[in-house]
């Protein structure tokens, strides 16, 4: 979707401000939200793509004014309600009002901690031969799905070069739409800055995206 989350090239956000002492968390509750998010992950109630899409669906004013972990918290709450694992009145009450729903597996335990802190694999067997090879010139499609996609706006309709093949991966556009994993070939596609930003682009700059095959056509 063409949302505010798709920030590449947006002007006006000011300077990047590294912090001197750089705390891992700025409030104690942020660590709890992170732990909560990881713990929920073990139940496989939703995928990483669904969870990104849930954040993209937040109102632009909310997205832009709330912190990273505030959005994570709201995402967890929204998805838990949507999946019927909790109810809105329970959130309002701050406690369970009904017996817990049956989960696909038993409760979270300490033995699960290692599992949820380790990253999963998103590579899948390729459904067909790759259409492009390293060195091919490709054009990204000018698509504007109203659902989740990982093709950023600044890189749509642009000509680049295939730099690397990564095998086939879960296709986020399908996964977030509840259409299954739908594995697709994944490529690193490199663009000259002028192709993305016009004649005033920074000199000697190249930018690459990770592009799924359905995002690409031969140039």
């Amino acid at each position: 979707m063409d949302g505010v989350h798709d920030m590449g090239g947006t002007d006006g956000f000011g300077k990047v401000e590294p912090e001197a002492n750089e705390p891992v968390f700025h409030h104690r509750w942020e660590g709890r939200v992170l732990a909560m998010s990881r713990a929920i992950g073990v139940f496989r109630a939703w995928t990483i793509d669904t969870s990104r899409y849930a954040i993209e669906l937040m109102a632009p004013s909310f997205y832009l004014s709330r912190s990273y972990y505030e959005k994570w918290f709201l995402r967890n709450q929204n998805l838990l309600i949507e999946r019927g694992l909790i109810d809105a009145d329970e959130v309002a009450a701050g406690r369970a009002l009904r017996p817990a729903k049956n989960l696909s597996r038993g409760p979270f335990s300490l033995a699960d901690v290692d599992k949820v802190t380790r990253r999963g694999s998103y590579g899948r067997p390729a459904p067909a031969a790759a259409q492009f090879k390293v060195g091919d010139r490709v054009r990204t499609r000018n698509i504007h799905p109203t659902t989740h996609t990982r093709l950023p706006r600044y890189a749509r309709g642009r000509v680049g070069v295939v730099e690397r093949l990564h095998g086939a991966h879960i296709f986020p556009d399908s996964a977030a739409a509840g259409k299954g994993e739908d594995p697709q070939w994944l490529y690193t596609v490199r663009f000259d800055a002028q192709e993305l930003w016009g004649p005033d682009a920074e000199a000697k700059l190249k930018v690459s995206i990770e592009a799924f095959e359905p995002y690409l056509e031969r140039a």
Binding site: G14, V16, E17, H169, E202, L205
Partner: protein
């Protein structure tokens, strides 16, 4: 330089949780368009002839930068070289430490 313009994808398994600046709108918006300006925010200026390469982490592949070996460290061993490597130098927003800082 490594960025995620769409959310905040980061090589967490290797580098730990991302710093707040990596998740900031300023970094996510500018890194792909004005990386030299972003580097200036970190106090880093590169020669104009140095090519800059930005990776936007738009899928589940994760990247980090292997910093260039600083001049004068040709005879250094792995443990010594590791002391020069900073988190920011692996994200691409900083250079490794100066050899004189750790020698």
């Amino acid at each position: 330089m490594i960025v995620c313009t769409l959310c905040s994808c980061y090589p967490t398994d290797v580098l730990g949780l991302p710093p707040t600046w990596y998740k900031s709108f300023a970094y996510r918006s500018r890194a792909v368009k004005q990386p030299r300006a972003v580097l200036a925010d970190f106090g880093v200026t590169l020669p104009v002839e140095t090519e800059i390469r930005v990776w936007d982490s738009t899928a589940e592949t994760r990247y980090l930068v292997v910093p260039m070996r600083p001049a004068g460290t040709e005879r250094w061993g792995e443990a010594q070289l590791a002391k020069l490597v900073t988190r920011d130098s692996m994200v691409g927003t900083g250079l490794p430490k100066n050899p004189s800082e750790v020698a």
